[in-house]
């Protein structure tokens, strides 16, 4: 029976897939490409870091300059990510929940920092707060340092990570519509309760997703931060800048040791991101399989 079915079954499948040799060669080419462009660079970071053994790696990571770079990187991310989180939620609420003129233009402006070169992003803050800049004389008179100091680094980081969370949330909240929130308001909930108990649970996966990507970029930003930092060792060096300095001083093991921490961060980011995606997909599937309570109109 099966022997007679097989040829027709195979012919039916042949319409929507390729012959086995095509499939395997396409998979082969794609995996080879990914091996050379993604796996090898990642592996190279760790092997270069451990080139002179674990002891040298360990010594490189215990340098006080490396520690102050790690510290500054975390402080920067700790300020920039919450700021953009609040902005992302507010912008998504305004854009997704209401209709108003100029909405499309506003959405484009929110995306703008993504397409601005990081170097230009750094430059604009130098032009604002640098010695030659708009507020330069006033800041100097009051002895406040923004550019070539920590506040400038934070500002530049906020700029380059500006759209991450808003961008995740806007399409998500648009797709979910207003029905549940309106029901909550009609039932007497305050605006804050509605957000906290109705909207937030619905957007939590998108929120986590946005925060993770925002954090990865905040900790890894190089170009913009490099323009505003002034590269003062132990003071205004973030981890990526420290990597550059060590690399240019031919301290290859030390440079790759700090880089390996950033690569680990990237791997953790990818892992969390994948888990979030899988859990979100599972939840969507679970709700899709629920029996409908009422036939929709």
């Amino acid at each position: 029976m099966s022997t007679t079915l097989n040829p027709s079954l195979r012919r039916a499948q042949a319409g929507t897939t390729e012959p086995a040799w095509v499939r395997y060669s396409l998979i082969g080419v794609a995996l080879t490409f990914m091996f050379f462009f993604l796996v090898l660079p990642l592996a190279a970071v760790f092997t270069e870091a451990l080139r002179k053994g674990f002891d040298a790696y360990w010594v490189a990571l215990q340098e006080p300059d490396a520690w102050s770079a790690i510290y500054l990187t975390f402080v920067t991310a700790l300020i920039a990510v919450p700021l953009n989180l609040v902005f992302g939620v507010a912008a998504a609420w305004a854009i997704a929940k209401y209709e108003f003129t100029g909405k499309a233009f506003l959405t484009t402006l929110v995306d703008l920092p993504f397409s601005v070169s990081p170097v230009v992003a750094g430059l604009i803050y130098v032009l604002m707060f640098g010695a030659q800049g708009w507020f330069g004389p006033w800041l100097q008179a009051h002895d406040i340092k923004i550019v070539f100091a920590v506040p400038g680094i934070v500002l530049a980081t906020v700029f380059v990570t500006f759209p991450f969370i808003a961008r995740e949330l806007i399409p998500l909240m648009q797709a979910q519509g207003n029905d549940e929130e309106q029901a909550a308001i009609v039932l007497g909930a305050t605006g804050w309760q509605t957000f906290w108990y109705v909207t937030l649970p619905n957007i939590k996966w998108g929120l986590i997703y946005g925060v993770i990507l925002c954090n990865a970029r905040a900790m890894g930003e190089f170009g913009a931060v490099s323009v505003v930092s002034g590269h003062i060792r132990g003071q205004t060096n973030t981890m990526p800048l420290h990597v550059e300095i060590l690399y240019n001083e031919y301290q290859s093991v030390a440079a790759f040791a700090v880089a390996s921490l950033l690569a680990l961060l990237a791997l953790v980011t990818l892992a969390i991101k994948s888990v979030v995606e899988w859990r979100h997909a599972r939840e969507l599937k679970a709700t899709a399989e629920l029996p409908q309570e009422m036939p929709s109109a």
Binding site: A90, Y98, L109, D111, L127, M128, A271
Partner: protein, 284 residues
């Protein structure tokens, strides 16, 4: 301001609270972080006369950097279109061992700091690197010249194409392909006449996003490029170079040119995405 007043006319119809406060906060924050600093860039260029501006943005070294930046970005984005489509296709259509890991790995260029990618690619492709040592005897040099720029930009741009094409391929209706086969199309005809037209808008969007990102890229490129003036110096590096010589006006002039280009590209990408949504029939 026009946004506010026009917004108010709709107010009566709103049930959900928080419109004024969220939109107000959004506009204030957007102005402080993005719009006012960007306008500083534009105002700074007004300190230059037109001939000065023209000289700053068309000097021979700057022109060479445009050629390199646009040429390398274009090649890298085209390579990414081909391989991005291939990776997306393989991930959506076929099953193989380790697929989930490969899928997660596609986002590595988004997550890996660009400086790390830069030094790592350089270490691989330098004459004594894992890959470079096999290429050197053949006279192929991929690091410290324009080839290196292209390679770094391929790395940076890959996820853009994969991640825009992948969902469209996932949503593609198998029935159409079955119909094509029933009507006697070969598999290649089905791909080129049925599947490809449906993913073309997404592919073009991915191309534009990878291209836009590549033009502004700095961190990964400067390590591998060698940064020789007139040969392997990208435009963002020209800005840094002018800044280091305290030529703020000159740096600003080149930055304005880049800003205008990225703004145009942003509008093009938005238009492409709108086209894509109409094409697939999804709600805007």
């Amino acid at each position: 301001m026009a946004l506010f007043s026009l917004a108010r006319s709709h107010k009566a119809a709103r049930v959900l609270p928080g419109f004024n406060i969220t939109l107000g906060f959004t506009l204030t924050y957007l102005s402080l972080i993005v719009l006012i600093p960007l306008s500083a860039l534009v105002f700074k260029t007004f300190t230059l006369t037109w001939p000065q501006f023209w000289e700053a943005v068309t000097g021979p070294r700057v022109m060479a950097s445009y050629k390199l930046t646009f040429g390398a970005s274009l090649i890298a984005a085209l390579v990414n279109v081909v391989f991005g489509l291939l990776v997306a296709w393989v991930l959506v259509r076929y099953n193989f061992f380790g697929k989930k890991v490969v899928d997660a790995l596609v986002d590595l260029p988004f997550a890996l700091p660009t400086a790390v990618a830069g030094i790592s690619l350089t270490a691989l492709l330098a004459g004594n690197g894992w890959v470079g040592q096999y290429l050197e005897p053949w006279g192929i040099q991929l690091a410290f010249n324009p080839n290196g720029v292209v390679i770094a930009l391929i790395f940076i741009g890959l996820p853009f194409v994969v991640r825009t094409v992948q969902p469209v391929l996932e949503d593609a209706e198998k029935e159409l392909e079955e119909a094509a086969t029933c009507l006697g199309a070969t598999r290649w005809q089905t791909f080129s006449r049925v599947i490809f037209p449906s993913i073309a808008p997404a592919l073009l969007t991915g191309f534009a996003m990878a291209f836009a990102r590549a033009i502004g890229e700095y961190g990964s490129v400067i390590f591998i490029a060698g940064n020789m003036p007139m040969v392997s110096e990208i435009t963002p590096l020209i800005i840094i170079g002018k800044l280091e010589q305290y030529d703020y006006a000159g740096a600003t002039a080149v930055a304005v040119v880049m800003l205008v280009i990225s703004f145009v590209l942003l509008l093009v990408i938005n238009a492409l995405q709108a086209w894509q949504r109409r094409h697939t029939g999804a709600p805007a």
